[in-house]
């Protein structure tokens, strides 16, 4: 009998201890569930940081827009998908385009999750509340930035501003460009309100030590949001508002032009987050997994003679004096005056044969482990946008602002005098092309000026007929979401 009892006891013991083993705790595995994560201040801090990598991912590849424009070209041969980008014949099935779309919407999803959950978190002290406001402002800025990129590249796009949790909600139609612009404006106005002018946040009642104090370079500031807002107004043709927003950036006194042009770019001896920097995508060493850029392998000259992978010679400044680019017109390198110091910082040449250009601002010989930042906005850009907004309104200050950028020791050029009207407009446009060459500005500028069709025609790389420069909506997305219509021309 004793043995029966023993047997039953053993069995009973096993059953009792067992339900636990099939209900493990997520926390034990070093992971955390979403609900638990967004329940306290640390969740706000780290959730905010978790949004930023979407900026990094976006700007690791934004150079493809230069390849679309008349500023960049790719090596001949090799990859069809990239050749398609260069000749403005992008296939809706292109993985490149899908990647741009997916990266932006992933960033939007993260900001939506953050913005949806963070306001409800309670139990914060005064400082933490101030920091929460700042972080919300950063998230709004980043959401606006992603939408601004998407709407300019693709036209009408689905506008989503809340966290989608139900997978049945994923069929969403395109929202008109105008509505998307309105949302961006709304986000930015709120962001400007919440973001500090400088870091650490001057509103803090007591200083916070360390990372949480917000002294980190690379966070979005009020100036970043104002720049983006000005850029938005410039794009929508609201020149007075654009001027106002951009003038506030200038007036803030936070930003100055670097004494040396090269200072904004580490690849040519500059530094991260220089005085001119308004917003940069931050890259880092292999100590931070996934935080490196691939500019090295993408832009490199390809003069390594091995039958394996090497530099891909993509996105090189256009130069029609080179043999294989001889059919191109209005090429970037030829647009520079020889006296312009910026030319040598923008383009270099390999020593082999055939000679090819190299995107000097961003090329470092580090393969896919580049650590140099991508400059999203810098002060020179603000000044030129300001000039553009002023010129459009007939404001004479336009020329002054143009000359602030153009004529100083860092360019080696003299000031322009006595021009106005279309001549001034064209001078500002040329200055943008040169000052911001190979910084993923050109294609957006052409779209904004509505000159993309003629400029690319003149460059001998006409845009896809009927597309007006818009990219195709990725076919893969359309297959998953039947409500998505395709752009004209595709």
């Amino acid at each position: 009998m004793k043995k029966y009892i023993l047997a039953v006891f053993i069995a009973g013991f096993s059953i009792a201890s067992c339900n636990k083993i099939i209900e493990p705790k997520l926390g034990d595995t070093g992971q955390i569930g979403s609900d638990e994560f967004y329940s306290n201040y640390n969740g706000i801090v780290q959730g905010n940081i978790g949004i930023y990598p979407s900026v990094r991912n976006t700007y690791n590849g934004m150079w493809f827009t230069d390849l679309l424009s008349d500023d960049g070209e790719s090596s001949t041969g090799g990859d069809q998908a990239w050749a398609d980008v260069e000749i403005n014949n992008v296939d809706p099935r292109s993985g490149i385009i899908e990647g741009v779309w997916a990266t932006a919407y992933n960033g939007i999803y993260r900001t939506n999750t953050f913005l949806g959950r963070v306001p409800a978190i309670s139990g914060l002290n005064i400082n933490q509340n101030i920091m929460r406001d700042q972080f919300i402002g950063e998230a709004l800025f980043i959401r606006a930035l992603h939408y601004f990129n998407l709407v300019r590249l693709f036209g009408d796009i689905p506008l989503i501003t809340n966290e989608l949790t139900n997978l049945n909600q994923l069929s969403i139609a395109r929202t008109s460009k105008a509505e998307v612009y309105m949302q961006i404006e709304k986000d930015l106005l709120k962001a400007i309100d919440l973001l500090p002018e400088v870091l650490p946040n001057p509103k803090l009642v007591a200083p916070i030590v360390g990372n949480l104090g917000g002294t980190e370079q690379g966070r979005a500031l009020r100036g970043s949001a104002r720049t983006l807002l000005g850029h938005l107004y410039l794009t929508t043709g609201d020149f007075a508002k654009a001027e106002a927003a951009l003038q506030q950036v200038v007036n803030s006194g936070v930003y100055t032009l670097n004494a040396n042009y090269s200072q904004a770019f580490q690849a040519i001896g500059g530094i991260k987050n220089s005085g001119e920097s308004i917003f940069e995508a931050q890259f880092n060493t292999t100590a931070l997994p996934g935080a490196q850029n691939s500019f090295g392998s993408q832009f490199g000259p390809g003069d390594i003679l091995i039958g394996g992978v090497a530099n891909l010679a993509r996105n090189r400044p256009t130069d029609n004096t080179l043999l294989e680019s001889i059919d191109l017109k209005n090429t970037l390198v030829q647009s520079f005056q020889n006296a312009d110091n910026r030319k040598a910082f923008t383009v270099s040449y390999n020593t082999g044969s055939p000679i090819r250009t190299i995107n000097r601002k961003y090329y470092t010989p580090t393969g896919s482990q580049g650590t140099n930042n991508w400059v999203v906005y810098r002060y020179a850009d603000v000044l030129l946008m300001l000039a553009e907004a002023q010129q459009a309104q007939g404001n004479a200050a336009a020329l002054t602002n143009l000359n602030v950028v153009r004529s100083n020791p860092r360019t080696g050029l003299s000031a322009l005098v006595g021009i106005s009207g279309n001549a001034l407009r064209d001078a500002i446009r040329l200055e943008r092309r040169l000052e911001l060459a190979m910084e993923a500005k050109r294609w957006f500028d052409l779209l904004r000026w509505n000159t993309v069709t003629e400029v690319m025609q003149a460059h001998a790389r006409p845009v896809k007929a009927g597309s007006n420069g818009l990219l195709p909506i990725p076919q893969a997305e359309r297959e998953k979401n039947p409500l998505l219509t395709q752009n004209a021309g595709y």
């Binding site: 001949t76 003679l305 091995i306 979401n481």
Partner: protein, 1068 residues
């Protein structure tokens, strides 16, 4: 350890010596009457009562008592005869008391006892599909890991030893591939009742180049000493496997180790020594030919107008102009990298026992040097198996095993790091050593171009010697059980087992000039600095099981019911670190010396299973057989909605031969028809896939790294196990007095609810979500036949053959929202500009090959004019011509077609056993027919810039030659010419003489004089002959291992060796 090895060797030599002495001292003596005592036991070691013991040529006779003991008075040198109904009579010389006699049952194969889940069963009464491989078959071929012994031995089991590295993992597929998910197609291994969780084969370290070298951990069974194995049973159909429920979708391999038998201590020594060497070398181009190939490829490319825009320095055309003293040797890198390598296995076991306690203790030393330079594997293990009886009702036992495994491996299958692949890709003009004996290295950058090297001047010997990947693994298993017979026929059994496993896996990329200054992504950029990966992992696994079994026969009804409860938990912890920056080659430990880019990550995972199961077998007169099984598993891998799953199976059997109307058919001894159907599962889907989780999403502000989090998985609360519906129909027969036995079997497995990523819009934050959607079918026939072809007193010949057909078809992988069929591609192939070759698509076998249809080469300029191009690359005469299948005017991805699949039409094995007097000859062959292999390695050497490859590369197109191999080019043109096409798809069929063993069994008459029980000497050869059309090293290849979506690709992996060995088995 070397001391230990010495001791073992010393022991072996000592015993040799003793044997010789005994032979020399053989003397005759006068016959006297003596009393001989002993014990008779059956095949399981249980004492047998009632066995008749008599003098063969005399009148003395006795019977064994309840304890199996006997005592008989007889003359010395008398032969005793032991007999018992149903058992083979045994004759033996009366020897030293107490004698220990094993009687073996008379075996028609259908009377065998087979191990099933949670017990044993008479084979004649089984209604499930079970294949058995016995210890002598397991030990025949030199193997590092027991699963390799299954190759060619049983129907339905496909074993591909696709990685010939010592300790390398084999792919074991029982009746096809049931899941599209990598690593989920292995059978469940059960060792002495303990089901093993996948142990540290899949590691989860965080990204950023922190991927761990999983291939190095090798086979999950490599810690097991194959000498210890009594039998391996492969459970294949639902009826046999359902008792393992949610883990049985891929079949179950039940491994049973040997146990002691009542009687005096028996000592067994088993030893072999072998020499392995590369099975086949390829004929490579020599340095001069290679240079010409390279020069012409470059010239052609330049005249075409470019080479990825790279400069072509004049030196590039002749590498020797780069060296001031071009004293070079023409190197065949296969000779430098491969070697004749020893393999040896020494095993000693002691077994015996009394009726109260039986024991088996064994120790094994196994060492295999790899045929590739600087690779090896070593295992030292000890086993203690005890079986005791406390009272007639209470029994207990212990299975204990400790194993220590160490070794070193190479990177393979990776085109950048793969040392093995370099044997066929390194230029013949590269050197091994400098004149001063140091390693030759890439010392010749072009002046003024620091980053420029002119050819792929790596030194694979230096890399093999200096880059090391050592592994140390320790594993301890113990299982303690007790069985109590409550009333007659009703037994309660409890067992508790543990399995501890720890592994330290390191990878050191030494600081030396290691090759071209490749600027590539990934972890191996640094040149001249040491990079170290270190991985520590341990698992602890416990299991507690309790069964109640009732066994009863009344009149003609036989009932056997099993009721069980099981709980098992497996906890895995890992710690992983990597760093680089060390510059002294002797400093290879992570820490301050190697502190650049230091990265660590830690992981913890647990899997728990709580299960109940029931099995009922019933038969009427042994003629009508029924069996039903249900297992209910609760698994930690599933969310609250799907925590529990039930897995039922039922089977029936009909022994036709017992029917009256069959009695008159004299040549038939036994015919049984059986059928089964059931559902089993695959719960190996990873933990917490049902929860929405946050994952690290770090950023840096300025240069300061900051930790962030972002959602990293979409929740799918409804996630559940993959289901496998198995149907089986078979006929088993035994004819001509048991001289011919066989089975014909049909099976069909349908996997349903496979975990497949379903595409969702990126608005969700992700591009796909894992759901239970896919469906795969595997079906086929299995034939096995074994028979006695000839038998006389002096000569016998037995033969067996088995053959399995597999038809693998993906039925459904889900659709995209627009109704398109979802497809999965395999790994992108570097050799083809990162174009994948495998495709998994509904209606086709998993991982079928996809590529362009080759129409030969353009023979003339005229032919190229207006012909569709790819990516705007203009073709020249001599370039490959591909078909524009969709006629859209360009050669694009939509022009690809299916080019075959890695699945064979059938596979199997053939065994022939010859016995002549005391000699035996065994010839064992296995074959695989109808599969294709994609020779990506050949595609790689055809890029011509390395000036290497096989002499096939000399057979290129030149104007007017009409040869259909493309001309010599490099760069983009070469990439175009090498697009995946039928040209690289080869017939992977082979027939391999896996083993030939010639053995001599020293006859009893000599042995008894020297008081030895048995002595056998053998010589054998493995993999000596392989008949195949495959052009690479070996058709048995799958460089992507268990990744079935990328199967059948030859990236020039570690080839399987051929081995000559000799050895002996001695018992005393």
């Amino acid at each position: 350890m070397p001391n230990f090895k010495k001791k073992i060797l010393k022991g072996i030599f000592t015993s040799f010596f003793v044997i010789v002495l005994l032979f020399l001292n053989m003397k005759s003596s006068n016959a006297q009457v003596k009393t001989y005592t002993g014990t008779v036991v059956d095949e399981t070691g249980i004492p047998m009562s009632g066995v008749t013991v008599k003098e063969k040529n005399g009148k003395m006779q006795t019977v064994t008592n309840k304890m199996g003991q006997f005592s008989i008075q007889t003359l010395e040198k008398t032969i005793l005869l032991f007999s018992f109904t149903g058992y083979n009579a045994l004759e033996t010389l009366a020897g030293i008391s107490p004698m220990s006699i094993d009687l073996k049952p008379i075996v028609s194969s259908l009377d065998d006892v087979v191990v099933v889940g949670y017990g044993t069963q008479k084979k004649r009464n089984t209604t499930g599909s079970i294949a058995t491989v016995k210890s002598d078959q397991i030990r025949q071929v030199p193997i590092t890991s027991p699963e390799q012994a299954l190759q060619g031995r049983s129907t339905g089991v496909m074993v591909m030893q696709s990685n010939g590295a010592p300790g390398g993992a084999s792919q074991v597929q029982v009746r096809g591939v049931n899941s599209t998910n990598a690593g989920r197609n292995d059978p469940l291994y059960v060792i002495d009742g303990i089901p093993l969780f996948d142990v540290l084969n899949t590691n989860t370290a965080s990204g950023g180049g922190a991927s761990t070298p999983s291939a190095n951990t090798g086979s999950p069974l490599a810690t097991l000493n194959s000498n210890d194995i009594e039998s391996m049973e492969v459970l294949k159909d639902a009826s046999a496997t359902a008792i393992y429920g949610s883990r049985a979708a891929n079949g179950v391999v039940v491994i049973t180790t040997k146990t002691g038998k009542v009687g005096k201590t028996k000592i067994r020594l088993d030893y072999y020594y072998g020499v392995q060497s590369i099975r086949k070398k390829l004929d490579m181009v020599n340095a001069t030919e290679g240079m010409l190939i390279r020069r012409d490829a470059l010239l052609n490319t330049v005249s075409d107008g470019g080479f990825y825009g790279r400069p072509l320095l004049t030196q590039a055309f002749n590498p020797f102009t780069m060296n001031s003293s071009p004293e070079y040797k023409n190197i065949d890198w296969q000779n430098e990298l491969f070697r004749a390598a020893p393999i040896q296995d020494a095993n000693i076991s002691l077994s015996g026992g009394t009726d109260k306690l039986r024991y088996l203790i064994s120790t094994n030393f196994f060492k295999q040097d790899g045929i590739f330079r600087n690779t090896d594997f070593q295992r030292i293990s000890t086993r203690v198996n005890l079986d005791g009886i406390i009272s007639s009702k209470l029994k207990y036992g212990l299975r204990f095993n400790y194993s220590n495994q160490t070794g070193n491996n190479v990177e393979d299958a990776n085109p950048f790091q793969g040392n093995v692949a370099l044997a066929l890709q390194t230029e013949a003009w590269n050197q091994v050593f400098n004149a001063d004996g140091t390693y030759w290295g890439p010392t010749n950058p072009v002046p003024g171009n620091g980053n420029l090297t002119l050819w792929n001047n790596r030194n694979p010997v230096a890399e093999a010697d200096l880059n090391i990947r050592p592994t140390i693994r320790n594993r301890t298993n113990a299982n303690l059980f007790a069985e109590y017979e409550i009333i007659k026929g009703l037994k309660f059994k409890s067992s508790f087992g543990v399995d501890f496993n720890s592994i330290n896996n390191r990878r050191v990329q030494a600081a030396f000039a290691r090759g071209p200054y490749l600027i590539i992504s990934g972890p191996d950029i640094p040149n001249n600095t040491t990079k170290v990966f270190s991985y520590l992992g341990n698992t602890s696994n416990w299991i507690s099981e309790h069964t109640l079994q009732y066994n009863k026969s009344f009149s003609n009804h036989n009932i056997d019911v099993l009721l069980g409860f099981s709980a098992q938990q497996n906890v895995t912890r890992t710690l992983f670190g990597l760093g680089d920056g060390g510059i002294s080659p002797s400093l290879t430990l992570l820490g301050a010396n190697i502190a650049q880019n230091l990265l660590t990550s830690e992981s913890y995972g647990e899997i728990g299973l709580v299960s109940q199961f029931i099995r009922a077998n019933y038969n009427f007169k042994g003629k009508y057989l029924f069996s039903g099984t249900v297992r209910r598993d609760g698994s930690s891998n599933f969310g609250p909605d799907n925590k529990y799953g039930s897995f039922p199976a039922a089977s029936i059997g009909w022994r036709l031969s017992d029917e009256r109307f069959m009695k008159n058919v004299k040549f038939i001894q036994d015919i049984k028809i059986r059928a089964s159907h059931g559902i089993v599962g695959n719960q190996n889907i990873g933990s917490f896939a049902f929860l929405p989780r946050m994952g690290a999403s770090n950023y840096s502000f300025g240069n300061t790294i900051v930790n962030g989090f972002a959602p990293n998985a979409l929740a799918n609360r409804g996630l559940r196990w993959e289901e496998n519906h198995k149907t089986d129909l078979a006929i088993e027969f035994s004819l001509f007095n048991g001289k011919l036995n066989g089975t014909v079997e049909y099976y069909r497995n349908r996997s349903k609810g496979l975990l497949v990523p379903i595409q969702v819009s990126n608005f969700s934050g992700f591009s796909s979500i894992t759901t239970n959607f896919g469906s795969i079918e595997n079906k086929g026939w299995e034939f096995s036949l074994n028979g006695e072809i000839f038998k006389s007193n002096t000569f016998s010949w037995n033969a067996s053959i088995n053959l399995t057909t597999v038809q693998n078809t993906v039925l459904d992988l889900g659709t995209t929202a627009s109704g398109g069929v979802q497809e999965f591609f395999g790994n992108a192939l570097f050799q083809h500009g990162n174009i994948p070759v495998n495709i998994t698509r509904a209606g086709l076998p998993i991982g079928s090959f996809l590529g362009w249809r080759s129409l030969g080469v353009f023979q003339s300029q005229a032919e190229t004019v207006g012909y569709p191009t790819r990516g705007g690359i203009l073709a020249m005469p001599g370039d490959a011509k591909f078909a524009d299948l969709d006629k859209n005017g360009v050669i694009d991805d939509r022009d690809r077609e299916i080019m075959g699949s890695p699945f064979p039409n059938f596979f199997g094995g053939i065994t022939n056993d010859f016995r002549f007097k005391d000699f035996s000859l065994n010839i064992f062959a296995n074959f695989v027919m109808g599969n294709e292999v994609y020779n990506a390695g050949r595609a790689q050497t055809e890029q011509f810039l390395n000036g290497s490859g096989t002499i096939q590369n000399l057979n290129f197109w030149t104007p007017g030659s009409n040869i259909n191999n493309p001309r010599l080019t490099a760069g983009a043109q070469s990439a175009y010419n090498r697009l995946p096409s039928q040209r690289f798809v080869e017939d992977g069929s082979f027939l391999r003489i896996r083993n030939i063993t010639l053995a001599y069994q020293v006859p009893q008459k000599y042995l008894s004089k020297i008081k030895f029980e048995s002595m056998r000497f053998f010589v054998s050869g493995s993999n000596l002959f392989t008949f195949t059309k495959y052009q690479g090293w070996d058709p048995e290849v799958s460089s992507n291992g268990a990744d079935v979506l990328s199967g059948g690709i030859d990236l020039i992996g570690y080839p399987v060796a051929k081995t000559f060995q000799f050895g002996f088995n001695i018992g005393f």
